[in-house]
């Protein structure tokens, strides 16, 4: 799969991010992030203290350094957010590059067309597209068929067909018509297309916090409140013990204890998650869906197109009686000549091969009436010269021959069952009242699909295959692909019912769809992925659109969703674990002058009290930029048992978070005394 990673560490991204991080110091912008807002508030207080120190002629150097590092803490956090935004914007820009310059031929009410700027297009406008036109906005084909180059969006160079009706009617802005003429109804106002929605989700000011982010924010705010109380009351406890603590040292302690690391990086983690989605060519319309995708434990997959290559191929003719094999092949060929489905074409190819008619152009005979396949009748065929040839499923042919009073013999059922148990689809061929035999249609699994399904299982996700096939056929394919369960003989409404049933049992269900009749099920699913090539209805019902129209990419969405959550959890744990070392640095520093016995708590053996406080503050500030790459990239997710995953992350971020600051603060303390900063 292609991933268009943008290298963020270049000056064209970093410089604007630096500028933005200063701009974001505006209190109104800071208020969106309560933890960092409190940091800014107390930082202003320390700054005022420095100013008053200067005017009253006191030594202000120590307070100045504290104050500066606190400002850095905020700017570093803003920088992380700005950088993630920049990355997202660049990612999105690369997707919609072509769009802004394009023009469109709009069809007026009188039927005449006028050329207008693509930006002026509104929803419900109808436009005309011809060879070489760039499609100006997302829309639905209402007339015509055309070959479209979607490489600008998907990176896939092979052109695709888009046509009215059916499940391939959606077109995306920015793609190009290679050949053909289309009438397209525009489905989104400028600024409302999927891409524009996605861009909003990487701009922090417009971004909605996801439910989990809100809950985590509450935890961070609660910790902040506790630490404010701890620090304020400490002043009085210390006072009782005869120790005076300056406000700037108390503020330093507060900032060190507050969860600034996770508080500062939280928005960046969310935005970076969206960036990753874009990079994998997904467009999400809600952050909630991305988060929920980490929770998905049931996936509904269409057999056709997702697990198997869309087309079943005819591989064998099985006559009812050996002697009329030729009769069967003839009838199959005749009935399939006008059948444009891939199955129909594969029958023609196989029949020609069997009859030794290489090449040769065979045309349907004059006066023949073709009966196209319909979902109701579930068979197709030809009427010619009094011959009524039909091919179709066992049930439909049974009905067809029953009209002539012919029952289905055991032999027929045996052949059908034989083909079906081998995972193939039997297609019966009948001429008038007589059943001639069966055609074996074989499903071909997509390459690598069973590996991906196995990986889903490792992640704890149950895969369910849905197919209109009979149970036997379905079972064979299911076994071959390794899905956990399957539903055979499914009707369009089955998907919706199934999703409801699983949701009723408490499962979170993901579903991939493209057709209009998938739309209700997509709307019901917790995570609904629509193929970009699918119909507009499907895309609107979904909350994630896959620009590559590759159904197996669901795995990537799940991984991205999990990564966002893991990164949040890991950095929260890390941030809280850090506090232990900071206590051991600052608390002895405050009291050691009065109570030298507390030296036992100074296990880092720091140079001086001032140096200890400053070292803790500096560590607290610089850990933020050091963790930016991790926040943007996300903590790695490896499918494994939940316990193993947790144990690993606890060791790295919990235990690591406990130990690392002891080392870090000690090192910074040594640098401080080396540079004689205090």
């Amino acid at each position: 799969m292609k991933s268009k990673k943008i290298n963020i560490w270049q000056s064209k991204f970093i410089l604007p991010a630096v500028r933005d991080s200063v701009k974001k110091l505006h209190p109104l912008a800071m208020a969106r992030n309560p933890v960092m807002f409190v940091v800014e508030l107390v930082t202003v207080m320390t700054t005022l203290i420095v100013v008053s120190d200067i005017f009253t002629g006191r030594n202000f150097l120590f307070n100045l350094q504290i104050s500066l590092w606190l400002w850095f803490t905020i700017i570093f956090a803003n920088f992380a957010e700005a950088l993630a935004e920049g990355q997202g914007r660049a990612q999105a820009e690369s997707l919609k590059k072509n769009r802004s310059e394009s023009t469109a031929k709009r069809l007026g009410p009188g039927g005449q067309s006028e050329v207008i700027s693509a930006l002026k297009l509104k929803k419900e406008d109808t436009i005309i597209l011809e060879d070489g036109d760039t499609i100006p906005g997302d829309g639905d084909v209402i007339e015509g068929t055309a070959l479209i180059d979607e490489s600008a969006i998907t990176g896939e160079s092979a052109p695709v067909i888009r046509e009215s009706g059916g499940d391939r009617s959606g077109v995306t802005g920015g793609t190009r018509v290679l050949s053909g003429k289309l009438k397209v109804r525009i489905t989104a106002n400028p600024g409302e297309s999927f891409l524009d929605q996605m861009i909003q989700m990487v701009e922090s000011a417009k971004r909605q916090k996801t439910p989990n982010e809100k809950a985590l924010n509450v935890l961070l705010i609660a910790l902040t409140i506790v630490f404010v109380v701890v620090v304020v009351t400490l002043k009085y406890f210390a006072g009782y013990m005869g120790v005076g603590v300056t406000v700037s040292v108390l503020i330093a302690l507060l900032i060190c204890l507050m969860p600034t690391t996770i508080g500062g990086l939280l928005p960046a983690i969310g935005i970076a998650g969206m960036d990753r989605l874009l990079r994998y060519n997904f467009i999400a319309t809600s952050g909630r869906a991305v988060e929920a995708s980490g929770d998905v434990d049931v996936v509904l997959m269409d057999k056709t197109g997702t697990i198997t290559l869309g087309n079943r191929m005819a591989t064998e003719f099985i006559p009812l009686h050996e002697e009329n094999e030729k009769e069967l092949i003839d009838a199959a060929l005749l009935s399939s000549l006008a059948d444009d489905t891939p199955e129909g074409r594969s029958i023609v190819v196989l029949a020609k091969e069997k009859l030794g008619m290489r090449g040769g152009d065979i045309r349907a005979p004059e006066g023949a009436v073709f009966i196209p396949f319909s979902a109701e009748a579930r068979m197709s065929g030809i009427d010619w010269n009094g011959r009524k040839i039909r091919k179709g499923s066992l049930e439909s042919i049974k009905e067809f021959v029953a009209a002539h009073g012919t029952p289905i013999t055991d032999r027929v059922e045996k052949i059908v069952a034989g083909i079906a148990t081998e995972g193939s689809t039997p297609l019966l061929v009948a001429e008038n009242e007589k059943i001639l035999g069966a055609i074996r249609l074989k499903d071909v699994l997509k390459e690598g699909i069973s590996g991906r399904i196995a990986k889903l299982r490792q992640m704890g996700i149950k895969s369910i295959m849905i197919t209109g096939d009979n149970p036997l056929t379905a079972a064979t394919i299911a076994a071959e692909a390794g899905v956990d369960d399957f539903v055979a003989e499914a009707k369009p409404s089955t998907k919706l019912e199934l999703i409801r049933r699983y949701q009723g049992m408490g499962h979170l269900v993901a579903m991939i769809g493209d057709g209009t009749n998938d739309a209700p099920a997509l709307a019901q699913a917790d995570v609904a992925v629509a193929m970009n090539a699918g119909t507009q209805a499907a895309r609107e019902a979904a909350n994630i659109v896959d620009l590559d129209s590759n159904p197996t990419k669901l795995l990537d969405i799940v991984e991205i969703g999990k990564q966002i959550l893991i990164t949040r959890g890991a950095l929260t744990t890390f941030s809280v674990a850090n506090d232990v070392a900071k206590y051991f640095a600052i608390v002895p520093a405050i009291f050691i002058a009065q109570y030298p016995q507390l030296k036992v708590l100074d296990i880092m053996n720091l140079t001086s009290q001032k140096s200890a406080v400053l070292a803790a503050v500096i560590f607290n500030a610089v850990i933020i930029p050091l963790l930016i790459p991790l926040a943007l990239r996300g903590v790695r997710y490896r499918p494994s048992s939940a316990t193993a995953l947790l144990r690993r992350n606890l060791l790295i971020y919990g235990l690591g978070g406990l130990v690392l600051p002891f080392i870090g603060i000690k090192l910074i303390d040594m640098i401080i005394s080396l540079l004689k900063m205090v």
């Binding site: 809100k214 809950a215 009351t233 009782y240 929920a292 893991i566 959890g569 507390l598």
Partner: protein, 568 residues
């Protein structure tokens, strides 16, 4: 340590586990409405009570109705107890002719007993008439404990039920807690105590001729029954001021053992009840294990300190290195340490020794037990509620770290649950710091102190940790019967009680309305070792981060100074 000491320390956990498991299973049946061996005897009484009070047994309450019923019932009880103290002089069963209790003491006592704290600013035998003791204090001892259990049962239902709007019937849960659980246990324990010589009489006092010919008035009274509910309901309010150090309350090492067992029993049994009702017994065992680890961990640090004793006395050649100060000779160190530790981990607060006289680090353990919110077994019902809130916090972090939106036992933990769990965990802690901060920086607060320096700080911290945690034990050394302390500790007790129970019922309501997410390989099992370790760590870390500075300045600094020969 003597053989008796070792027996106590080893037997206590074993007997506790056996009894707690059995009682836990029994309570699960009681609260699910399943038949038990007591049903034939008690069910008629239960039905009679429902008819008498017009309770519709079948009514299933929303969390708001449940909470409202509970709060009103609790507040009415507190008000009644206040009035009883105000008019006790005019009422019968008052052989010592005690007058009305001072207003602030009465408010404090009413709240104290109504909130299952049993902080006693007064001296029982010199203030309260027998009627007040029995009709007021003893009744509240039952009710406040039963209310705690009812709240817990509602929370458990929150975990069991799916997409339900209701969490049970408060009146039924309350009645069953009393009739099936508290009363039978109290009767058994009372009889055992009486058999060992604990006093049970309605006569006023006994006058004795002392050996040197003087006369001594010895207070007696209906002690055994109040003693039993004092432990069983984790109340802790003694009949006598000396509480379980008094020979009439706790005469022998055997009664001491029984009392420790009694106060641990229900809180230790409730995790098993939880597991049984959840139909996931391993879950109950896991939570019990977390509690036991914290209990034994604290106990060993505490005991080691007391056994090591005071180095200054040792240097002076006074003792053999045991810290016997403030302890009853007939009970000895181990029995005192076991009692003190057990009474502070559960929110009981009965004492058989003076906690003020423990070694500084021992005192630190006791304060930690209370300051983390009484969750190591904890108070009847509310202890497990607190523990479940720590579990919510733990699983919020654990859930994120395994890449799922957090869930606990199949219930998704979202904004609402987070807010409520944090209110429950943090309100007592915040209040403890704020009120201590006020007390330590005002003359009114400082004037009650018996000691200076870090020990004085410990006395104040202990008082508010004890009241905010609804424990009720006192560190002594602090004269708490002043208007300032009566009112501030009242506030701490009320907040400690209702900031736990009301949000807990809100969580119950919210959880009951949710679906239960079926477990898969991607779900983190909350009944395994890793969960237990993480839960224990979260509790220690939250406690340590909140109280590091005060514990450093109080007991820890005192310990360091003691080592250098300075005492307070």
């Amino acid at each position: 340590m003597t053989l008796n000491d070792w027996l106590c320390i080893l037997l206590l956990p074993i007997i506790l586990i056996i009894l707690a498991f059995g009682l836990g299973e029994f309570m699960a049946k009681v609260f699910s409405g399943t038949r038990t061996f007591l049903t034939p005897v008690i069910a008629p009484v239960e039905q009679l009570l429902y008819r008498l009070f017009g309770v519709d047994e079948k009514e299933d309450m929303s969390w708001k109705t449940y909470a409202l019923s509970l709060v009103i019932f609790n507040i009415v009880g507190i008000a009644a107890l206040f009035i009883l103290q105000a008019i006790q002089g005019m009422l019968p069963f008052n052989p010592q002719k005690f007058g009305a209790v001072r207003w602030d003491t009465a408010i404090n006592t009413a709240i104290s007993f109504g909130t299952n704290t049993n902080w006693q600013a007064y001296s029982g035998e010199q203030t309260m008439s027998y009627l007040t003791q029995m009709l007021g204090l003893s009744v509240q001892n039952f009710l406040s404990a039963a209310i705690g259990m009812a709240a817990l049962v509602a929370v458990i239902r929150g975990f069991i039920r799916k997409t339900s709007a209701a969490i049970g019937n408060f009146w039924v849960d309350l009645t069953r807690s009393i009739l099936y659980v508290l009363l039978p246990l109290v009767i058994i324990l009372s009889l055992l105590l009486v058999s060992q010589g604990v006093v049970q009489t309605l006569s006023g006092s006994v006058t004795a001729q002392t050996l040197d010919g003087g006369r001594q008035i010895i207070a007696v009274g209906p002690v055994a029954s109040q003693e039993a509910i004092k432990e069983i309901g984790t109340n802790g309010g003694g009949f006598f001021n000396a509480n379980s150090a008094h020979p009439f309350e706790n005469p022998t090492p055997f009664t001491n053992f029984l009392e420790i067992l009694g106060l641990l029993l229900i809180p230790a049994a409730l995790p098993f009840t939880f597991g049984a009702m959840l139909k996931n017994r391993r879950q109950g065992i896991a939570i019990f294990a977390a509690m036991l680890i914290l209990y034994l961990g604290g106990l060993s640090i505490f005991a080691a300190n007391e056994m090591h004793g005071n180095p200054l006395l040792e240097k002076a050649g006074v003792t053999s290195g045991l810290n016997m100060e403030g302890k009853e000779v007939r009970l000895g160190i181990v029995n005192s340490v076991l009692f003190a530790h057990s009474t502070t981990v559960t929110s009981c607060g009965a004492v058989n020794s003076m906690h003020d006289s423990m070694m500084p680090l021992g005192g630190l353990i006791l304060m930690f037990n209370m300051a983390i919110g009484e969750v190591i077994f904890g108070g009847v019902g509310v202890g497990l509620i607190g523990m479940l809130c720590y579990a919510i916090l733990t699983m919020f972090l654990a859930g994120l770290m395994i890449g799922r939106t957090p869930e606990l036992m199949g219930k998704k933990l979202e904004l609402f649950e987070m807010v409520m769990a944090l209110v429950i965990i943090l309100t007592p802690a915040i209040l403890l710091l704020l009120l201590s901060g006020i007390a330590i920086s005002t003359n009114t607060g400082l004037s009650s102190l018996g000691n200076s320096g870090p020990h004085g700080l410990s006395e104040i911290i202990y008082a508010f940790a004890s009241t905010a945690g609804n424990n009720g034990s006192a560190f002594a050394g602090l004269n708490a019967n002043t208007i300032f302390y009566n009112l501030t500790t009242s506030l701490a007790m009320l907040a400690g009680r209702f900031s736990t129970i009301i949000p807990a019922l809100a969580i119950a309501g919210s959880l009951a309305g949710k679906k239960i997410v079926p477990a898969s390989t991607a779900t983190f099992p909350t009944n395994g070792l890793l969960f237990v370790i993480m839960l224990v760590s979260v509790i220690i870390v939250v406690g340590a981060l909140t109280f590091f500075p005060v514990f450093t300045l109080g007991p820890f600094l005192e310990h360091l100074l003691l080592m250098t020969g300075k005492t307070f």
